[in-house]
């Protein structure tokens, strides 16, 4: 055989190997038992006291475990987590949790009641300024402490023994266990945080993969900016043997089109969201993988009420009435939810009366023009150019363009659309450097308070500059009453006051549409709060 022949054989050989079918990454990772999940946006922080985004919450829930954990078989049900049992008094305002003595941090140290108390003190501390501090306000004196009005000793959290935690609440809270599922109630490793800068150091590096210590099913393995964040099983975890997979990789893909395409190309096991226009396509392409689940979530616009002319409630109502929600939901976001003029989604036995408004869209638009003229901007003349801020998510941009056109047509006013990358969007919103902000809020727990509490004056996630003492009083009254019906009424009252002044424009209650591989994934169930425990997801090759 001469050398030419040899080269020909070599070339042919390499061609043949190149032609051999490549395994998709979904298949490859499934063989290793690793779950690939689309997670919307780049995570901001794995620190439960700094995170506020849904994407962060999903990651934190795999890394840390609270007193209780969500049941993988029944939506809304609660199983023992770090606490093995608990009891409460007759009025349900004093709860005692007994921690599992074998619960350990990933560095082998035991999880103690002090780790919980330490975490709560950190989140509530006025110097730490946690955005989610209100989540702990059901604790007695928590609000006063976070406003610097009392000492930590007066707050209703006591580590009575190394493994016994007592929570005293400001009012009867029979639904406390549901609240505890949220990551703001999770413990943090006090010893590690102290070692790396102390309790109040907001820039502490304890959440970096090289320092990470947690008590959840997984530990932080790697984080590559805008690429992925991966977690691997925590051998010290209480129920390490019950883990159904061997790790999770969270991919921050903001663009739903890209994500859906990646899924169809075999690069993901579960996606975060299928955009409206791709619903029919995705359903036809993968009928057995397509999911449409109810979701406890509202899409709305925040208005910066500290800026003129949005400080005028007539202007806000004009903007509100000029939006044709039916058209928006049915034509643009294509049934990704139900149009709504109220904020809290239906669920948990709560419903708020819609404010009295004209019913037909034509009448609404007429009223909107009248209100705008009354505020001094007849036909939109002299109305300043406001900026409508959205994330770079395509659905939000399309929605913004639709509403921009509606306002232009009905009111004769022009708004500029500014689409921001997620972290820039988030910080502009927190610092109130916006006019109108395209927002969404998904419930942290299955209770209307998770929505209504948002609009407490000065609340960390309020971000509109709006506040009403009467509404605040109603919220506090709701918190302090043990009577379920009265509580509902107080919450309704607070929401109605808010809807009357409209610091926000409610748009629709959304649904979750996503793709989930029926070939590689088992044991997945829809959850109203989208908080299915990922350690119970079986990944099969």
């Amino acid at each position: 055989m001469n050398w030419k022949c040899a080269i020909a054989v070599l070339l042919l050989g390499s061609l043949l190997t190149a032609c051999k079918e490549q395994k998709s990454s979904a298949e490859k990772f499934a063989e290793d038992g690793i779950l690939l999940i689309g997670n919307n946006s780049e995570p901001q922080s794995q620190d439960p006291h700094k995170a506020t985004a849904v994407a962060d919450g999903k990651i934190i829930c795999t890394l840390l475990e609270g007193l209780v954990r969500p049941s993988p078989t029944e939506d809304g049900a609660v199983l023992p987590g770090t606490a093995e049992r608990w009891e409460h008094n007759d009025t349900a305002d004093e709860w005692t949790f007994h921690l599992n003595p074998s619960a350990k941090w990933s560095d082998g140290r035991p999880v103690t009641a002090n780790d919980f108390a330490y975490a709560y003190q950190r989140l509530l501390h006025p110097k730490f300024a946690g955005k989610y501090a209100e989540m702990l306000y059901p604790l007695r004196n928590a609000e006063n402490f976070s406003k610097g009005l009392c000492n930590w000793e007066e707050v209703g959290v006591k580590a009575v023994a190394p493994h016994t935690l007592r929570l005293s609440l400001s009012g009867p809270t029979p639904h406390l266990l549901r609240l505890l599922l949220h990551y703001t109630w999770f413990p943090i490793p006090a010893h590690k945080v102290e070692e790396l800068g102390g309790m109040l150091d907001r820039r502490s590096l304890w959440t970096r993969p090289e320092h990470w210590v947690g008590n959840g099913a997984y530990v932080l393995a790697a984080h590559r900016f805008n690429d992925y964040l991966s977690v691997s099983p925590n051998p010290q975890y209480l129920r390490a043997s019950e883990l159904k997979n061997k790790g999770i990789r969270f991919l921050p893909i903001v663009n739903g089109y890209t994500e859906t395409r990646m899924y169809l190309g075999g690069k993901l096991h579960i996606t975060n969201n299928v955009p409206p226009e791709m619903l029919a396509y995705a359903q036809a392409e993968r009928p057995s993988d397509f999911c449409r689940d109810p979701y406890y979530c509202t899409i709305f616009y925040r208005l910066n009420t500290s800026r003129a002319p949005l400080n005028d409630s007539r202007v806000r109502r004009a903007l509100h009435l000029a939006i044709d929600r039916e058209a928006l939901v049915n034509k643009v976001v294509r049934g990704a939810g139900a149009p709504s003029v109220t904020f809290t989604p239906p669920g948990a036995g709560y419903a708020v009366n819609a404010p009295t408004e004209p019913t037909t869209q034509a009448e609404r638009e007429e009223e909107a023009r009248r209100l705008l003229a009354e505020a001094g901007y007849a036909e939109g003349k002299k109305f300043p150019v406001l900026e409508l801020m959205t994330t770079s998510r395509d659905v939000q941009r399309v929605m913004a363009e639709t509403i921009q056109a509606m306002w232009e047509k009905v009111l004769g006013i022009h708004v500029d659309i500014r689409s921001c990358e997620w972290t820039a969007y988030k910080s502009a919103q927190q610092n109130m450097e916006y006019d109108i902000s395209s927002s969404s809020w998904s419930g942290d727990y299955l209770d209307p308070a998770t929505f209504v509490e948002l609009w407490r004056s000065g609340g960390g996630n309020n971000c509109t500059g709006w506040g009403n003492p009467e509404a605040d009083a109603a919220l506090s009254a709701a918190r302090n009453t043990g009577h379920a019906e009265q509580r509902q009424r107080h919450l309704q009252q607070a929401e109605e006051l808010m809807l009357h002044e409209l610091p926000i424009l409610p748009l629709y209650h959304s649904q979750r549409t996503y793709l989930r591989s029926s070939r590689h994934i088992d044991g997945w169930q829809p959850r109203l709060l989208d908080n299915f425990p990922l350690d119970a997801v079986l990944v099969k090759p």
Binding site: E277, K331, V332, V398, Q404, A405, I417, R418, S419
Partner: protein, 314 residues
């Protein structure tokens, strides 16, 4: 009486035009570009082209029809109108930013080459430094930093002239883009101009002009610059596509034109997202964009062959 006939010799430019006219690809491209300019700048003035920003939620993603020759987009806007208005912006950015780059690059290169010595070394090292910086990143930083002043400028102009905001904003909103791309796109041209200047400077007629006592300005702009024109024209036609591509890149990442206005770049991006569902949304803008870029490249090639026959490959 014997009659003397003089044959008028062809000038260099006439020769070039002749050669260009014989290049079929270049001529077709030229005609196509003229048509495209007419279509984008004149056609939308007629009432049968719809308002590109008028949404019609009852007619979303409609297929091609008589009322909407290219169909409608995801918000029921007429795609033909959007492609034409988008072309306006893309072409405008391409042309204006090129002119800005041209002026800066020409003057910079001329001075550097003519003065020579330490000044030349310094000016060229500056160019080297700017070359080493990533172009897109610089454009982004630059356009963000002049966004606020240009917004104020828009407000002033609207106030002074009383024109409607809708007519002014789409164009004035692009000013940061013009300046940013233009102000950073002149580097290659400056180098080319400098090299040419060095070559021309050493020729005898320049020496003659100098010995006649002509001023530097006169020599630069009367005797050197015109002889550079061929190279510059060729470079310009080839630079426009590059700049249009930069604009699409910037619009693609959300820094170029602002919604609801569109450029070809944004239209292609929106179309690419919906590729599987409504392919028309990407086919039409992409076809317009590609054909224009191709035509510009053919024309540039043709011009180069015509002006500098030595460089022709055939």
């Amino acid at each position: 009486m014997a009659k003397t006939t003089y044959t008028q010799g062809n000038s260099l430019w006439q020769d070039a035009m002749l050669r260009l006219r014989r290049n079929r690809a270049a001529m077709v491209s030229l005609a196509f570009l003229c048509l495209m300019l007419l279509a984008c700048f004149v056609l939308p003035l007629f009432p049968f082209i719809a308002n590109p920003n008028a949404t019609d939620l009852n007619n979303i993603a409609a297929p091609c029809s008589l009322a909407h020759p290219f169909g409608t987009d995801q918000l029921g806007r007429d795609l033909l109108a959007r492609v034409l208005y988008g072309g306006r912006i893309s072409l405008l950015v391409g042309i204006v930013a090129t002119v800005v780059a041209l002026i800066i690059g020409l003057v910079y290169g001329l001075i550097s080459g003519y003065v020579g010595g330490k000044t030349d070394a310094f000016m060229m090292r500056t160019v080297d430094v700017l070359f080493a910086l990533p172009f897109i990143v610089l454009v982004i930083v630059f356009s963000l930093s002049i966004e606020e002043p240009s917004r104020r400028l828009t407000a002033h102009i609207v106030e002074l002239t009383g024109w409607s905001r809708e007519s002014v904003a789409p164009i004035l909103g692009l000013v940061p883009l013009f300046i940013a791309i233009g102000a950073l796109g002149w580097l290659t041209l400056a180098r080319i101009v400098r090299t040419q200047t060095l070559e021309i400077k050493s020729q005898e007629y320049i020496m003659a002009a100098q010995s006649l006592g002509l001023g530097h300005m006169r020599i630069l702009f009367r005797h050197i610059a015109p002889n550079l024109l061929g190279t510059v024209v060729v470079y310009t036609t080839l630079a426009v596509p590059g700049i249009m591509l930069t604009e699409s890149t910037l619009s693609f990442i959300g820094l170029g034109v602002k919604a609801p206005n569109s450029s070809w770049g944004t239209l292609i991006k929106e179309g690419a997202d919906r590729m599987e569902v409504t392919p028309e949304l990407i086919i039409f803008p992409a076809a317009f964009f590609c054909l224009t870029l191709l035509a510009l490249n053919f024309l540039g090639d043709g011009l180069r062959d015509a002006i500098d026959p030595k460089s022709a490959k055939d």
